[in-house]
């Protein structure tokens, strides 16, 4: 992938080959999304042969973040990179607006309603509108639990953040 595809503030510097390796690391909770799709990956840079990967956390309580850091390390080690670090950047704050268009499409295909705002949510199975909100906290912090008012299926809604 090209670095200019990364969502966010646009100030990304990429060591091209390694960047695509890092960018292909997936979210352990939503394995159809890469960390580039999610907007979590901010930059991949090399400083005198030392690789610095910068990520921005999603929810404070997201247990996937530590796993993502470990997976980035494993991906770099597989490429023979031994000198690296993963930095966490808290500012600017991650937002669901940083999820790429590809990421939004993958979420729907995976059965998770994307973060459109609670009034515009469509059932990811039958596309009916006005689902019933069951709980603001679903299987993970980032998702709410909804039930379709037409087909009756329960589904996850990725909350706006």
């Amino acid at each position: 992938m090209d670095g200019s595809d990364l969502p966010g503030d646009g100030v990304v510097r990429l060591a091209t080959d390694l960047a695509s390796v890092v960018a292909s690391v997936v979210d352990p909770e939503i394995p159809v999304l890469t960390i580039a799709d999610l907007g979590v990956l901010r930059s991949v840079a090399t400083e005198d042969g030392h690789v610095v990967v910068t990520i921005t956390p999603t929810y404070s309580g997201c247990p996937a973040m530590r796993q993502i850091e470990d997976d980035i390390g494993s991906a770099l080690l597989r490429e023979g990179v031994e000198s690296f670090e993963v930095r966490v950047s808290h500012n600017p704050v991650w937002t669901t607006d940083w999820i790429s268009e590809v990421g939004i499409r993958k979420l729907s295909e995976f059965g998770i309603a994307p973060p459109t705002g609670p009034d515009e949510v469509l059932c990811p199975r039958c596309e009916a509108d006005r689902p019933r909100l069951v709980a603001w906290f679903g299987s993970t912090a980032c998702k709410a639990l909804m039930v379709c008012s037409s087909c009756g299926e329960p589904f996850d809604y990725f909350k706006q953040f």
């Binding site: 929810y59 404070s60 309580g61």
Partner: protein, 248 residues
């Protein structure tokens, strides 16, 4: 030392000499750490599965905020203390959390009332800290503010349902308001008017009354705690203290 014990002076490392910026970070980190520990006690015990999951998710958010703030405090202090050192290696006297968050869960109504009081406070706090000159703190606060909005939605909707619900749920939620009110002056001290206005509105919608009893307790921000914190820390810290340096 014996003079201190005889005079009833508090034991442990004094916290009076802390750098003000470090004190701010640790105060807010400790609030979130202690409340996360309390909320975690509900796992597998909540009245419904959805509530169990919600309380667990809220606890994880508070834990995550605490970790970010502890890590930042460690960078600021420059003494190589980690998030783990702050959470697991300090004594009760060194914790700077508000007395409210260390109070026991009680029944579900008491947990909800405690959460409402705290969510309203944090809603104002994060908006304030998001404008901090410290960019990292500002970012952590801006993120936490978005999370608090969801916590607030959960806790206040339950407060209204319980207060305006059955005779039993009304009785229990009023009892919780009465029991926890004494810790709210300390909580609301930085923003007394906005906190009180929001709480009065919520209590009215829930059909509940703010107590008239003026008695208030404080001291958490100076490390003077209620009897409950020591037991909470004993449980939280025992593994790290028993096996120092342990890793998963």
């Amino acid at each position: 030392m014996s003079d201190q014990i005889l005079s009833g002076a508090p034991q442990g490392t004094p916290v009076v000499d802390l750098d003000p910026r470090l004190r701010t970070l640790l105060s807010h980190a400790d609030d979130n750490m202690v409340l996360a520990q309390r909320l975690g006690e509900w796992i597998s015990r909540a009245p419904e599965l959805e509530i169990d999951i919600a309380l667990g998710n809220v606890a994880l958010d508070h834990l995550g905020v605490a970790r970010s703030l502890y890590t930042h405090a460690g960078e600021l202090e420059g003494a190589e203390r980690t998030e783990n050192d702050f959470a697991m290696r300090r004594t009760e006297r060194e914790f700077l959390n508000l007395l409210l968050v260390e109070q026991p869960n009680g029944d579900f109504a008491q947990t909800i009332v405690r959460q409402v009081f705290f969510d309203v406070y944090q809603g104002v706090l994060w908006g304030d800290l998001a404008g901090s000159d410290d960019e990292t703190l500002a970012g952590i606060a801006a993120r936490a503010g978005k999370e608090t909005a969801y916590h607030h939605e959960f806790s206040t909707s339950w407060l209204i349902r319980l207060g305006d619900g059955t005779e039993e749920s009304h009785f229990r939620s009023q009892r919780a308001v009465d029991a926890l009110w004494r810790f709210t002056a300390e909580l609301a001290a930085p923003y007394p008017d906005s906190w009180r206005a929001a709480i009065d509105d919520l209590l009215a919608r829930a059909g509940l009354l703010a107590p008239e009893d003026p008695y208030q307790r404080s001291g958490g921000r100076e490390g003077y705690h209620t009897e409950h914190l020591g037991f909470l820390l004993a449980e939280m810290q025992w593994m790290d203290r028993t096996y120092p340096g342990m890793e998963w």
